[in-house]
Symmetry: C2
């Protein structure tokens, strides 16, 4: 009659990221906003296309909360296509025949970059909660070190949606001279109270799972799969619009036309959410989920600049294109407008497109021709301005 979620097989991509890895030794610490150095550390990344002789055609793609570096190649864990093959590839808006596209797993992640599942050199065991709390700016610092390592002085463009968009904004604020063009999508310059609230519920779901073991599940041989699945289910609702849920599932029953009067997944939406929870825990580390959600919560770009978002972009020569989606209630268009207003106040170059879509926040990952057209137009114009063929 009931159906609790079974635990999946554990995965650990830290030692086998199936990607190139840039390693930084004890003498090259990553200085974190928390005030502590991280060393040694590493960052796993993928590249697509060819860096030109002038090293002027590099695009950095920043991934979202549960994304990774496998933006346009099959994911080694799930076997599924890369998460943004609609945007990145030959003849796509981020055209790998013209541009050198880089995507790196974020600091705190679990796909090869140093995170809470990595080995703490002081103990020889996984960091777990001894890993320092990281921020969006720390993620960007790590990416900048990677870009240095790759010998790239200035990025042609930084692109990303959701948490990826936060990184785009942070790049533009922290390293304006290294960002020719910036394309933040479905994002905000600060995480809202409601979004912090949803994240907190997800973290509490993970921490309430006794198999979380105070974060030490890797050492103790357990896995907080049920808690993480519940967290993912709740988060997933926020990625879709009410309209998208209604259209996809409505009140349709699963495999029958009447209720079973039970707690089985009677409705299709229930079955869908359970599947989302179960498949997520097979590919994501629970502690990484805590750390990366926390980084988003702490994000408030204006706070770094005396409360003025415009000051974050003052004097910037970067050209911006801001894209939002009309049915996105997690990062609503008002958040994007606030970015645009700040850029206007900073006299920066900015275009703004609100894409009409009923698909909610997830629209940035989906087939949205208006987004593709806006991105393509912006990228092509920026490429001409930079003298790229």
């Amino acid at each position: 009659m009931t159906s609790a979620l079974p635990p999946p097989e554990p995965r650990n991509q830290v030692d086998d990221p199936s990607s190139p890895v840039a390693r930084f030794g004890a003498d090259e610490p990553l200085m974190l906003d928390a005030g502590v150095p991280l060393a040694p550390w590493q960052i796993a990344y993928q590249t697509y296309g060819t860096l030109n002789a002038e090293r002027s055609n590099a695009i950095l793609v920043c991934h979202a909360l549960t994304g990774d570096q496998h933006v346009a190649n099959p994911n080694p864990v799930t076997g599924k296509p890369g998460w943004w093959t609609t945007m990145v590839g030959p003849s796509k808006p981020l055209d790998t025949d013209r541009f050198f596209v880089i995507c790196a797993n974020v600091i705190g992640g679990c796909m090869g970059t140093t995170g809470p599942a990595s080995t703490d050199p002081r103990t020889g065991q996984p960091y777990a909660l001894d890993f320092p709390v990281i921020t969006i700016r720390d993620m960007v610092r790590a990416q900048a070190a990677l870009i240095d390592r790759l010998g790239i002085e200035s990025l042609f463009c930084v692109v990303g949606g959701s948490m990826g968009g936060m990184q785009v904004l942070q790049w533009a604020a922290s390293y304006p001279e290294r960002v020719f063009a910036a394309l933040p999508i479905a994002t905000a310059a600060r995480h809202s109270a409601q979004n912090i609230a949803f994240h907190e519920v997800g973290r509490q779901a993970v921490m309430a799972d006794p198999d979380w073991r105070g974060g030490r599940y890797l050492v103790e041989g357990t896995r907080p799969a049920k808690g993480l699945a519940v967290a993912r289910m709740g988060a997933h609702i926020t990625y879709l619009s009410e309209m998208a849920l209604h259209r996809k599932f409505g009140r349709n029953y699963q495999d029958r036309s009447a209720p079973t009067f039970s707690f089985d997944a009677d409705f299709q939406i229930e079955s869908y959410l359970r599947y989302q929870g179960l498949s997520f825990v097979e590919r994501f580390d629970a502690n990484s989920y805590l750390y990366v959600t926390r980084a988003m919560d702490y994000f408030d770009l204006a706070a770094e600049h005396g409360g003025s978002l415009a000051r974050a972009f003052k004097g910037s020569a970067t050209r911006f294109c801001v894209i939002s989606f009309s049915s996105d209630w997690l990062f609503p268009t008002a958040d994007s407008r606030a970015i645009v207003h700040a850029l206007n106040a900073a006299a920066a170059s900015v275009a703004f497109v609100e894409v009409e879509s009923d698909k909610g926040h997830d629209a940035f990952l989906l087939d949205e021709p208006e987004m593709f057209a806006a991105a393509r137009g912006f990228i092509d114009a920026a490429a001409r301005a930079r003298g790229l063929s």
Copy 2:
């Protein structure tokens, strides 16, 4: 550094509801939509004011998901004031100097009415998941039996918000001749896919708690407090508007002005949600939470009438007043408009008020003068029409 939620003391109000109780024996079963009889059964209720000689001044208040019968007296479990003292009392819109106000704990609840924590006569142990799945219509059937027991043929008015509003609509559809006036607030004639989704996440959080024990926690002496607290935290977000969260909490830190770089409740919104979760588990039964959310999920009044909501109200002489709140995204105004359209199509008498409020779904429980004025005007006019002084 971390803070999982501690389990509270268990409570069981089934045997001590601190209320009058109407008991129905083995020969008076409650026939349920699931197709099974429930017997024996009981329903706990409170009354306020005096029934007049004509028995024509009775108002039934229907409570929401986690409400109870203690609408206008101190709650015996929490010691807090009744949950709707703004609406019910002397000189209040539901004026207990003029009307006889009744409120009963719903079937499946945990404040004295038969529910999953009640003793199963077949086993002598709590029903747990052997309790039949109940529906909104079952709740209303039980209330009708109580009204019979109280010797009331026809209710002057049935009133309720959220799940209480669903019961109001069900009353008007099932017993039109027994409902003179109906006041559904912040509700819908069917539960949306998004709302089913949020409920399912809450149920999975409860069921993922190993202390839930397949529902047998009362027998086994455990309590799925952590899972239930997570469920409540998630649900609570949906009761508030993004604007209300922003105004009340924003990104304010708890007791300090800077982040702690930890997983403590750094933000005020986190501390608030944790408190909501903890205080809830002290007063509510986890299995009741499963059953009552399930009843809401199954609610689809049109489905009982061949898919036509208008048909549910055809020929009704009941006068309706439908109230919604502009910032309620759980039961948005569009849901109330659908009710009004159906009532119009059924040629029923209906008034509609959308109250401007930024407080979200919870507004119906709060100080909303426009709601009070609308309710008072509607009740007073209906009382005149019924010849009540």
